[in-house]
């Protein structure tokens, strides 16, 4: 049920766009929905980040996986247990661009003997790399439809992406890399019993949605062609705030666009917010220097201090009477 329901929702979304196209609601699905989705995405994303920034961090809680800075003759693990802001930045860089924490993934296996052994397992890391970088390239080569004139860096990405020159229009490698990545991440959820047990609707839904986007996009490019010049005119109309809805754009485009809009509108309310969240994680963005620098809990109430010296002054006569030594 947790797998079937999100699948049905995604199919339903695609059918909604198709029905909208069939009853000539191109203006709604081609103009209003994209604007609404873009607004929800940007505003929702910012609101979520501001909410996080408003939450106090009571303790310095970096998760570490190495020796902290200690005595000079003990080797300090710079990246695994950063001490300075610079080291935190290096750690974040590797986390954001190379998913370092996924690379550390371990798997325990019970072998006959019986012996329990732990070994590295890179499949999650590898799938995540394929998925994220595939998606990045896909978004970048879509820029040719959203900006004009097309800058040479987008042109270069296009060239590299279609370097095998298979077919016309040539196949984009990035689309297949993305499809491979998203499929691997989906298979991981259904094939590993422990992961399947903890997977919820909101884990499967984005996977199916992204699969739907990739499949509809590939169908549009390689199988059910539509008028690409009309598509660019529609998108250029959107980004210049002079929306136009050219005739003759096929249903497949509206299905693809609607699924993309759903992804963007869903983004701020979902686990996909890890895009912003990775920068906001106290377990990642704080240095492990608890013993060198005091971290003040921002929600600590202001305590009225009454020092030992003041206490001595308050009871000086009684203390002297009882002959208690005073310093």
């Amino acid at each position: 049920m947790r797998i079937v329901m999100p699948f049905i929702i995604v199919v339903g979304l695609a059918l909604t766009a198709w029905a909208g196209w069939a009853i000539h609601l191109q203006g709604f699905f081609g103009v209003l929905v994209p604007y609404a989705a873009a607004l929800i995405f940007v505003a929702g994303f910012c609101k979520k980040v501001v909410d996080w920034a408003k939450s106090p961090v009571p303790f310095k809680i970096p998760t570490t996986a190495g020796q902290q800075k200690s005595l000079p003759w003990i080797k300090h693990s710079n990246i695994e247990s950063p001490f300075t802001t610079g080291q935190v930045i290096i750690r974040m860089f590797f986390e954001v661009f190379f998913f370092r924490s996924l690379f550390r993934n371990l798997k325990g296996e019970l072998r006959s003997g019986p012996s329990l052994i732990y070994g590295p397992t890179k499949w999650l890391w590898f799938s995540a790399i394929l998925f994220h970088y595939g998606f990045l390239l896909v978004i970048l080569h879509h820029l040719r439809l959203a900006i004009h004139p097309v800058p040479c860096c987008v042109d270069l990405i296009d060239k590299v992406d279609s370097m095998f020159q298979i077919g016309a229009p040539p196949i984009y490698l990035s689309g297949f890399i993305l499809l491979l990545g998203v499929t691997a991440l989906f298979l991981r959820r259904i094939l590993i019993p422990q992961v399947r047990y903890i997977s919820l609707v909101n884990d499967y839904f984005p996977l199916f949605l992204i699969m739907g986007i990739v499949i509809s996009g590939m169908l549009m490019r390689y199988v059910i062609r539509t008028d690409i010049v009309g598509v660019k005119a529609l998108i250029m109309g959107l980004v210049t705030f002079h929306p136009v809805v050219p005739d003759g754009i096929g249903a497949i485009f509206y299905i693809h666009l609607f699924l993309v809009c759903c992804l963007f509108a869903y983004f701020p309310f979902s686990k996909l917010m890890h895009m912003g969240g990775v920068f906001m994680s106290p377990t990642r963005n704080l240095p492990n220097n608890n013993r060198a620098e005091r971290h003040v809990n921002p929600w600590d109430p202001k305590v009225k201090l009454h020092t030992y010296e003041e206490w001595v002054e308050d009871y000086r006569d009684k203390l002297e009477e009882a002959q208690i030594p005073i310093d």
Binding site: A38, F41, V42, F45, C46, V49, V50, A53, K54, S55, P56, V57, L143, R144, L145, A146, I147, H148, P149, V150, V154, D155, D158, K159, Q165, G167, A168, P169, R225, T226, D227, I228, V229, K232, A233, I235, M236, G237, V239, T240, F241, H242, G248, G250, G276, F279, P298
Partner: protein, 128 residues
């Protein structure tokens, strides 16, 4: 808000990247391309809609069929037989690359590699 300076800088960068297409062109849309259709000709080898969306796949099939299989006869959806040749069939009517092909290709940033092998028609003096 804690660390508001850093958070706001981050959000400004995010908004700038997310809205990139909106500010990149400064609100100026490129005019819709208007390829010049050959005068006095009414129909192409297939319907206008088919040619608009699928001409690249057709040309790709034609190349394979003509050069790899040696079969230069194409039967279109109306059952009409057509001689497969870019130079002698397509460019008999669409004789100017600059006012026809290039119009949409530049607009959609498409760079087909037709002219790696074929001669560009004389009207355009480029040999790229």
């Amino acid at each position: 808000m804690y660390d508001s300076g850093k958070v706001i800088i981050g959000l400004v960068i995010f908004v700038a990247i997310a809205t990139f297409p909106f500010w990149f062109g400064m609100g100026k849309a490129a005019p819709m391309p208007e390829p010049q259709l050959p005068k006095g000709k009414k129909e192409c080898v297939e319907s206008k809609e088919f040619m608009r969306s699928t001409h690249m796949q057709l040309l790709n099939e034609w190349r394979d069929q003509a050069l790899r299989d040696g079969d230069r006869t194409y039967v279109n959806h109306e059952g009409k037989k057509i001689w497969i040749s870019l130079q002698n069939t397509c460019m008999k009517c669409h004789d100017n690359k600059e006012v026809f092909c290039d119009k949409c290709h530049i607009y959609a940033n498409v760079k087909p590699y037709c002219w790696d092998c074929h001669f560009i028609p004389k009207e355009s003096k480029q040999w790229n």
